[in-house]
């Protein structure tokens, strides 16, 4: 029996599974490695690049120093070189979990106040050692520590930290960590104690009023790194973190001071925590005996490490040329994701319609877990494609299914290897889709009318949301699937989808992701044309719509604190049945649902002032744009991008990036007197300048680099970038949201040719 992963509840994770708790942890780590967006995956990627640890990656790393290998043979793993302390700013008592995963060496690196500790697995083989030998590759970490250890061995070495299994397990992922990163806020938040559940509220999108919380629950569920984070907060780092958190996220509940005071009041070390850092006295002695804040932190990710993190999810697709000619109005697209949540809740999709013309691209921003965004990213394009299909093709497909023949392929996906499709649910999804096209066949009785793309998009969105809702109501005999459809329905996702067919561009948007068109004016400058409206409190028309849809009595409660019912930021979304179903239905489904669901505080919670559901819809707003030769590209991105960058900057950066590739001014000597030395200097300068710009082969990566690393002058600051990317996943969400970007590049020649034809 394959256990569901601790990390994300996914089953069927890659790798061998044996029985026992050790295997569960192991599985979890393995999954972490393969799981998209996980920090571990990122670390693994960066390690591969830096060739840090010979033992961890085996052949990949290649040339570890012999010293490392020697130690590995002796039964001790080496400290991975590329591992950085994870906390921003001053050196705190690093509780950051550093993991050296690999096929041959499983060990946990725990950065403790005094150096690096290693914990083997299973617990019987714990090999803590202090400090790491100075010649070992763990040197950088040591160096990074606040103060180098005296060369002579201390009279009384620091106590070897011991860890209980439960502590280790809690270092493994808890699904509800999405709320944990808030650190302070989570103290009072109800945490789900079931780690496989992923339906607890994301902190930003859905705010939940403080309810009864139980400390034992909290400290059990809170990931160890966060526990270790507290001393840091106590140590005058608080204001700084608090400040940056506010700087990054505009108006978050967590930043209001009452919670902080509350947190301090409520905090008492719990027995479980005490076992973790036994002996307690020593711990505090260490943490408090040092002035972490005073020691400047100098440990940054190197540029290659930064790049490997940024590029881990990048994907480029070039529309193939035929006979040297490209007849598509799309040249290709670049896409990329940078996670802040762990696992990432954003999804992206891109596919070419095979039975009709056109290409579909979309970004999906999930909240309260990734289940819904995952499902929508897998299914929505099929619904759209089916809606676009002519009657005959639908019949043909239906006949093929009927007689068991091979299906016509409908979509050609362009996927990054990390973009997975869930195998388990494919049958279920297919059946729902089939019902949809059967209905389409029945509805359209042969009179072949032109299919309106706008209508097709709206229908597909609404239908998919309907199906998600229905599947959750009906349930599934398979307990795993049953749980899956419920998770999908109780979590939510926004979607922003573009359909490009020749010069016809349709953008269907539900929620607060955005589509932005990059237009190059005649003078070469760039301007942004927004092709979608955000569905949130900033949009007057949406406010108006909501008020009209509900009785006057609810006018004040329907949108509170800029959130739907005071809870949800986007005003349109897939899933989120808590805002769609009647109270009765919710209760019925939860009661009959699996225990995990039933135990969960969040799902049981009914939004306040919930009188006239549904409050939420998945119906998209469709914008049509006819492409012109000056429309050079389209940026689809989740709000993670738009809240860090102004749209004008986004378009300018992408535009300059895309054209910069072609239009670097060549140098000519002309009639001037230039010496070889001068020319050489000039060229070297140009080269360094170019290489910084063209580090990215992917426009989306380039944009993310700017979004995360831009300093106040609007240029990428490596130090800042490095800090932002080395944030532990628990903290990352405080500084930024998941970012997902697709940059579609248009072929001006083809677009121009279309224009000339007419």
């Amino acid at each position: 029996m394959r256990a569901g992963c601790q990390h994300c509840g996914r089953r069927g994770a890659r790798g061998r599974v044996s029985s026992g708790e050790a295997a569960r942890l192991w599985l979890c780590l393995r999954v972490s490695l393969t799981h998209p967006g996980s920090r571990l995956a990122l670390l693994a990627a960066s390690r591969r690049r830096t060739e840090a640890c010979a033992c961890g990656t085996g052949g990949e790393g290649g040339r570890g120093s012999t010293g490392v290998r020697g130690r590995h043979r002796a039964g001790l793993p080496c400290a991975p070189k590329g591992f950085a302390p994870r906390l921003d700013g001053g050196a705190g008592p690093r509780g950051a979990l550093l993991i050296a995963p690999g096929p041959r060496c499983l060990g946990l690196w725990l950065r403790l106040p005094d150096g690096v500790g290693w914990f083997g697995w299973p617990p019987s083989s714990l090999h803590p050692f202090f400090p790491p030998p100075s010649s070992s590759p763990s040197q950088p970490i040591h160096r990074a520590g606040a103060r180098p250890r005296p060369s002579s061995a201390p009279a009384s070495p620091p106590p070897p930290p011991l860890m209980s299994i439960s502590a280790l397990l809690s270092m493994g992922r808890c699904c509800c960590r999405c709320c944990c990163p808030r650190g302070l806020w989570m103290l009072s938040a109800p945490c789900c104690d079931d780690r496989r559940m992923c339906v607890c509220p994301g902190p930003r999108r859905i705010g939940i009023p403080v309810r009864s919380s139980s400390l034992p629950l909290f400290s059990d569920a809170m990931p160890a790194p966060t526990q270790l984070f507290f001393p840091l907060i106590r140590n005058c780092e608080l204001s700084r973190i608090y400040g940056t958190a506010c700087y990054c996220h505009h108006k978050h509940l967590c930043c209001s001071s009452p919670y902080i005071s509350q947190s301090r009041l409520r905090y008492t070390p719990h027995p479980a925590y005490a076992t973790f850092c036994r002996p307690k006295e020593n711990w505090w002695q260490y943490t408090q005996g040092r002035r972490y804040a005073s020691t400047p932190q100098k440990f940054y990710l190197t540029p290659p490490q930064v790049n490997s993190i940024l590029k881990a999810n990048e994907y480029s697709f070039k529309v193939p040329e035929f006979d040297g000619k490209n007849v598509s109005s799309i040249l290709g697209f670049d896409s990329n994701q940078l996670p802040a949540n762990a696992p990432i809740e954003d999804r992206r999709s891109a596919a070419t319609c095979l039975q009709t013309r056109g290409m579909l691209l979309g970004v999906f921003d999930g909240h309260a877990g990734c289940a819904c965004s995952q499902a929508v990213s897998e299914r929505l394009f099929y619904y759209i494609a089916v809606s676009l299909l002519p009657h005959e093709t639908l019949l043909e497909i239906e006949n093929a299914v009927e007689s068991g023949r091979a299906l016509l392929p409908i979509l050609q996906w362009h996927k990054h290897p990390n973009d997975y499709f869930s195998k388990e649910a494919s049958k279920l999804y297919f059946n729902s889709l089939r019902t949809y096209w059967q209905e389409l066949i029945d509805l359209n009785t042969g009179e072949s009318t032109d299919i309106d793309v706008k209508e097709a998009l709206i229908n597909a969105f609404k239908r998919l949301d309907n199906d998600i809702s229905l599947e959750a109501q009906v349930g599934d005999p398979n307990s795993f699937l049953n749980y899956l459809v419920l998770r999908v329905a109780f979590s939510g996702a926004t979607a922003c989808v573009a359909h490009v067919d020749g010069v016809d561009l349709h953008v269907a948007n539900t929620g607060d992701s955005r589509a932005m068109l990059g237009v190059q004016e005649e003078d070469g400058s760039w301007s942004a044309v927004t092709l979608s409206n955000d569905h949130n409190a900033q949009n007057e028309r949406e406010l108006e719509r909501l008020k009209l849809e509900h009785p006057k009595s609810e006018a004040k409660s329907v949108v509170k604190q800029d959130r739907l019912l005071g809870l949800l930021m986007p005003f349109r979304a897939f899933g989120d049945v808590k805002f769609k179903w009647s109270i009765d239905l919710q209760k019925r489904v939860i009661e009959s649902g699996p225990d995990q669901l039933n135990d969960n505080e969040y799902t049981k919670f009914i939004p306040p002032n919930y009188h006239t559901p549904p409050y939420l819809t998945a119906e998209p707003e469709v914008t049509y744009h006819r492409l012109r030769p000056q429309d050079k590209f389209l940026v689809l991105a989740t709000d993670g991008l738009w809240e860090t960058m102004h749209r004008q900057d986004v378009v300018r950066i992408v535009g300059e990036y895309l054209t910069g590739m072609h239009h670097q001014q060549p140098i000519a000597v002309g009639g001037y007197k230039v010496t070889l030395g001068q020319m050489h200097g000039l060229l070297t300068e140009r080269r360094t300048k170019m290489s910084s710009v063209f580090e990215d082969q992917n426009a989306a990566t380039h944009l993310i680099r700017h979004a995360v690393g831009n300093n106040e002058f609007g240029t990428v600051d490596h130090e800042r970038l490095s800090k932002m990317l080395s944030l532990p996943e628990e903290l990352a969400r405080m500084y930024r949201d998941d970012i997902t970007i697709i940059v579609v590049q248009f072929n001006s020649h083809v677009v121009g040719a279309y224009q000339n034809q007419e």
Binding site: P666, V669, V674, L676, L683, R686
Partner: protein, 848 residues
Amino acid sequence: MFCRLLSVVGRQRTSPGWQNWSSARNSMSAAEARSVALPTQAQVVICGGGIMGTSVAYHLSKMGWKDIVLLEQGRLAAGSTRFCAGILSTARHLTIEQKMADYSNKLYHQLEQETGIQTGYTRTGSVFLAQTQDRLISLKRINSRLNVIGIPSEIISPKKVAELHHLLNVHDLVGAMHVPEDAVVSSADVALALASAASQNGVQIYDQTSVLHVMVKKGQVTGVETDKGQIECQYFVNCAGQWAYELGLSNEEPISIPLHACEHFYLLTRPLETPLQSSTPTIVDADGRIYIRNWQGGILSGGFEKNPKPIFTEGKNQLEIQNLQEDWDHFEPLLSSLLRRMPELESLEIMKLVNCPETFTPDMRCIMGESPAVQGYFVLAGMNSAGLSFGGGAGKYLAEWMVHGYPSENVWELDLKRFGALQSSRTFLRHRVMEVMPLIYDLKVPRWDFQTGRQLRTSPLYDRLDAQGARWMEKHGFERPKYFVPPDKDLLALEQSKTFYKPDWFDIVESEVKCCKEAVCVIDMSSFTKFEITSTGDQALEVLQYLFSNDLDVPVGHIVHTGMLNEVGGYENDCSIARLSKRSFFMISPTDQQVHCWAWLKKHMPKDSNLLLEDVTWKYTALNLIGPRAVDVLSELSYAPMTPDHFPSLFCKYALHVYNEVMNVGQKYGIRNAGYYALRSLRIEKFFAFWGQDINNLTTPLECGRESRVKLEKGMDFIGRDALLQQKQNGVYKRFTMFILDDHDTDLDLWPWWGEPIYRNGQYVGKTTSSAYSYSLERHVCLGFVHNFSEDTGEEQVVTADFINRGEYEIDIAGYRFQAKAKLYPVASLFTHKRRKDDMELSDLHGK
């Protein structure tokens, strides 16, 4: 015509260099306003007024052909010839290229005297720098080969380099090669001189005349269509440089001339404060990827960068060549390299960065010879940026080829027919030249395989073998396994084996060879060229008996090893022929014979026959079972009796099935896959010559010990019989010999490759043609030809067995001489004393 030409030359001479080019051109086009009437008929039409075209015209006219027309679409000596850097260098990797360059050098040297036109010829010498030991080895190899063909050169120390050129930074050098007789010359002036000499000999030259296409009737050139009218002709020579590819395709029956242009940059500077002397040697810093020569007191420096810019992929017209942009950013690495080599140049003022496209071919060798498809259509192009160095020699060989039917040297390595249709796509060429251009200055190590444009043709077993660890080499576009990496080997390290010493696949090949000798191995030999010849009557046998030297009138099912000889008795093809039925024959030839052999057969088959010749290469997968247990494996799979005396030729469908069955059954006999490196080691230790490598169209069966495969008295005449009879009477002038290296340490010494000079009693007698490590003799074995040069006159004399046996031999590998034992017959090894006849035949069949 000639007067006008001379006026051009005169103007040329007065202008100091290319920068006055535009004014010269303007005056030309004004002069060109009036149209010139073309002749309606000529024997030869040459297209291209660059150095190649003029050189061919010059040599043809010298050899007595008078009725020659040379057409140039723009102006004489424009294009690449005009922009050429003007360095004449004889240090080449191929012997034939060395000879061409040497001849060019001598020709240009006396050209000024002959024609009275200044060519700017200055004997500066050139210095090839080595920054690494490997580079020095490479230079030493070239050095030892240059010396034996009479070109002086020596390996010198960095200190000596500094004396030769005072600007050079020599601190990072480990050595250098000095070739004192290399020269610099103005290539455009050379072309003009050649043209004027040719013109004096009666060649008619017309510029501003473009060839539109060549007219062909029944596979024979009949004339040329130009923009100024038609010219009837027998021979057409395509010397169109980078436009040769397009011109070839413009025919009704397209002719594929695989070449592609890349942008090439060099820098010109103003003179130094103390101008460089005109005799300053040319510097080639291949590790820095640059060359530097003196130019009007300043520097001319260019190079071959790692990231070339292919150009004219879609074909462009001549005019654009004038407007090519300079690209300083692209030149930056080369500029850095130049300043590292000559730091004092920092303050030197730039004059211009010249962008001069050069053509490159898929294998870095030039293209010459007659088209396989159209008789009378000759090509000389694709010079890989050595057009000036090769111009004279290449023109001479092509002229000989046209006049006598074959050139005086073996030029198979440069023959157009070495390419097939696969290598002619624009995409392939574009990708391949991007690999070839940097290769010009890359270290050339043995057993180089191109990385681009691969997997053009594969055997049906490709995936199967690939999954079993096959490493691939390419021949004539066909993927062939080199060896099979055992699953536990570190794959990464193997891929990067670039060495002049013992390669890291040594152990792998050893185990394969051992398996071949003790058990059984299977080798996929599908790449071999396979033809089927059938006729309705006895004509097939008649024709083949005339074309082949051995007696083919054998019982059905038998295989005959034979040679396809030319009039002088040389091997045009070395092949095996199986008689499938009374009237049909199956012919197996080396892989790269596909085009050449086809052309030869087509040319010599009666035109009006009912013979059916079919290329069935792609229809058959050939599996070669080698080893003492091969018969056991086969007899388990087949009902036909398998005895050494009666070995049937078996044809099965379903290659994959057969392979699987063979592997299954062979399991108990220890069967495994083997690659070509194993086969090569086996064939060389058994003294089997391979066509294209050891033997060529200037080698007769008698010279390589294959009398037994020639039936002089088979009852009818065959091509080359007279020559062989005469040779039998007179004795041979060279003899194929096997050398076993005695004091060569396989682990520590440089490995032989091919082309190493052979010394007999201290006298140079010839060069090796191939070599391999023999795992059973545990020695290196080299194959090569021994000549007997007269000590007084240097003339070739008869080589007898006695002459060979009574000699002390040494092989020169990069300057180190190793003692060798000469053998005229293969050595029985420990493993092979029980060798069966069919083994021998089988391995023989498949040569290299």
